[in-house]
Amino acid sequence: MKKLSIIIAMFMLAATTMFASDHAKVGEKAPQFTLTDSKGVEHNLSDFAGKYVVLEWVNYDCPFVKKHYESKNMQKLQKEFTEKGVVWLAVCSSAEGKQGNFSKEELMKRQKSLGTAETAYLLDESGKVGKMYNAKTTPDMAVINPAQEVIYLGAIDNIPSADKSDVDKADNYVRNALYAAMSGKTVKVKSSKPYGCGVKYANK
């Protein structure tokens, strides 16, 4: 029986990897990736099959990211959903030497002062994963369901601004998508143009 379970699990993992797309598209399998986090731990997206996963592109020096962290909006969302078993992966695609690419010490200092509550902070210096997910701005969000399909891509909410006072007035697309999917309802807004600073990929 144990042998059969292992075979089924291996088959599911293979199927997840086999049918994964090269570029993220709503309704399709999420592109698979492996990234190392700020603590040196390696994570494969496929490790989280069976759970909801949120990908959040981040650059703590971007004013649009500051809007969501200084208002505590992002930390609240991270806590609200990680407590429900959601895996929240912050992804930094800032290339070496670019804004948002911090030393380990500086990153820890920033995260401590902001009180961030992500599951892991993934380092994507090459920008490969950012480009797979078409991440253009910080913040830029992706929500993946337990079957590892993309169910939401784009902006965190519907008010494109760097103004903290807009947070409470905004319709949060990530929260809406997660609650709808978790309760078996249709995700109404499946994608929305992201807003923010451009992701600081390696040069032109």
Binding site: C62, T137, S161, S192, Y195, C197, G198
Partner: protein, 271 residues
């Protein structure tokens, strides 16, 4: 002696702090002008906002492209004065950065608004205020804002200001509004094709088309434009973030006229 060391250290530390601190106050300088010194009661006039942008930095057009925010102006006008029509923008530049495309201005830019006044107004002077907000970016992005205002006298006769010629020149080169009746577009899950069949009479060649309606097209896709005898077609890729393409989209068309002059027009087309 110990006291002097402490004072010198404090001064040095303060100096180091000031030289390291980055100041972004001078990146954009905002000024306001009008084409009139005196408004003729009941007539129209223009107000222009100039954003003087520091070298290598840019501010954004009404459709900012892949990232950024549109520059915004909130007008404060007295009773009897109303903005007429939308704000008049200059044609933007494509700003490419790390594989992303933005639309904006890497130089000074003017935003112009037409105002109309009421005939019955008994004002002798009036003030037009503008709350201007923008995002200025290079490697970094800084959201900024400023308030500017202009005092104008009101009388029975129109009196030009020294900025009249400058504002008229800017209006002359700004995109014109053109009402399209026949031009259309078609869209599917992947692409959007525009067909321009009615255009201003002086169009010789269409060189570029920008979709003003934000979020419709994938900006990183290079637009393919084909000029034929009686029509122009342009292919765009649909944005991966759009669920439903609106029934109408606003576009900016950049063209060369029959005298070889660069011109542009804005129009709304439907599918």
């Amino acid at each position: 002696m110990k006291k002097y060391i402490i004072i010198i250290t404090t001064v040095l530390l303060a100096f180091c702090h000031n030289t390291n601190a980055e100041s972004y106050d001078d990146l954009v300088d905002v000024n306001i002008y009008s084409n009139v010194k005196q408004i003729q009661r009941g007539s129209d006039f223009y107000v222009a906002i100039k954003l003087k942008v520091a070298d290598e930095w840019h501010v954004y057009w009404k459709n900012p492209g892949d990232s950024g925010l549109p520059t915004e102006v909130k007008w404060n006008t007295p009773k009897g004065v109303e903005a007429e029509g939308g704000m008049i923008w200059q044609a933007p530049e494509r700003i490419e950065w790390s594989g992303m495309i933005n639309y904006g201005f890497e130089h000074d830019v003017y935003l112009i608004q037409k105002f109309k006044t009421s005939r019955v107004s008994d004002m002798k002077t009036l003030e037009i205020g503008a709350e201007v907000s923008w995002l200025v970016c290079k490697e970094k992005c800084i959201p900024q804002d400023d308030k500017v205002s202009i005092q104008l006298s009101v009388g029975d006769l129109f009196e030009k200001s020294v900025y009249d010629e400058m504002i008229m020149d800017l209006l002359g080169t700004a995109p014109k509004k053109f009402k399209s009746v026949k031009s259309t577009f078609e869209a599917d899950d992947e692409g959007l094709e525009i067909e321009l069949t009615d255009m201003p009479n002086d169009v010789k060649t269409v060189n570029d088309i920008f979709i003003i309606t934000d979020g419709v097209s994938d900006n990183s896709f290079k637009t393919k434009i084909e000029n034929s005898k009686n029509e122009v077609t342009a292919e765009f890729k649909i944005s991966p973030y759009i669920d439903t393409v609106p029934a109408e989209i606003e576009i900016l068309v950049l063209y060369e006229d029959k005298n070889g002059k660069s011109k542009s027009y804005e129009t709304i087309i439907s599918n």
